[in-house]
Symmetry: C2
Amino acid sequence: MHVTTLCLGALVFGDATGYEINKMFEDGPFSHFLDASYGSIYPALTRLTEEGLVTCKAEPQERRPDKKIYSLTENGRRQLSNALGQQLAPDKFRSEFLFTVLFAHLLPRDRVRALVDQRLSTMKEKAQQLSEPDEDDTPGMDFARQYGHAVFTASIDFLERNRHLIEDAAIEEKAHA
Amino acid sequence: MHVTTLCLGALVFGDATGYEINKMFEDGPFSHFLDASYGSIYPALTRLTEEGLVTCKAEPQERRPDKKIYSLTENGRRQLSNALGQQLAPDKFRSEFLFTVLFAHLLPRDRVRALVDQRLSTMKEKAQQLSEPDEDDTPGMDFARQYGHAVFTASIDFLERNRHLIEDAAIEEKAHA
DNA sequence: GTCACATATATAGCGCCGATATATCGCCCC
DNA sequence: GGGGCGATATATCGGCGCTATATATGTGAC
């Protein structure tokens, strides 16, 4: 699924600028399971405009670049609908943490402990964020939020129960270098 | 973390060809939280050889391309160690399923049900795979496997308990088109 | 017998991320 | 009051990496 499709999806929730769409992927409701960045979003919006799937209205701003507000067209809506009916790609998950942990038996114990601590703290923060419902959410957004919360909670629980497995395997470093 | 680093990591578990490294990412122990493909692995191995981080021994085969067996050098091992000591990138998770589910209220109910059924079946299969320990595994590999199992189990459980949230929101289609 | 699959390397095309450039405003701190 | 930082806003370049394809052959299924 290309960034163009993701942009169409973002615009279902209302007209937006490229900047705002980027924020949806960075902090917003999409951030936990999607990513896209300026380098792909701006070209995507240009292409979508050329293809008539979105329209672009420039709103002049004083002493700033014009705000370009994009809106879905009927064709764009159909195109998105179509894409959502196709075979979906399986989830992609990439974790440098788990990669690193594969080599726990080659790393100093302090490093492994710090890694787990860091991870637990960021995961708890995210779980916290995902625990707060928003009244404006569509049913799908609410579902996705709760899904994320369930997965993070399970991860945290697993880490706390099993961190000893990798910490014990790590290298007990000597007194000093 | 670049593919070159991932290749160094793969070679810690023993000498291997590009083909075998690819399999580790495709089916093997890395497949659940890493990805890399031919298009990046072969160039990476060439670059690593040039930089002296791995060595390459060509083993002639009858009526086939030579098998190029790569091995880590001391420098390569140090380089990996170094990379594992740097700040790690946060997990990346990309799900077209969750993206699609955001629009559950715009999709036919049959489609949503089929999506959930499909997902449950593939996740159960993966959870099954991850439930079987391997005696050759390093502690880290065992930990990563169990981690994956815990997360998949939680996902399955959540889906089964909450699928009604999106199925009820979906569109009850008319008798026929 | 042939069709699909596994072994094995390699590259071209293209999509996307990360970094950078440009410009201005508001806010905090000194 | 001034300096620096972060947010607002658009845009592009370089390079990395995925997808698909090319090449060549052995093996097992039907």
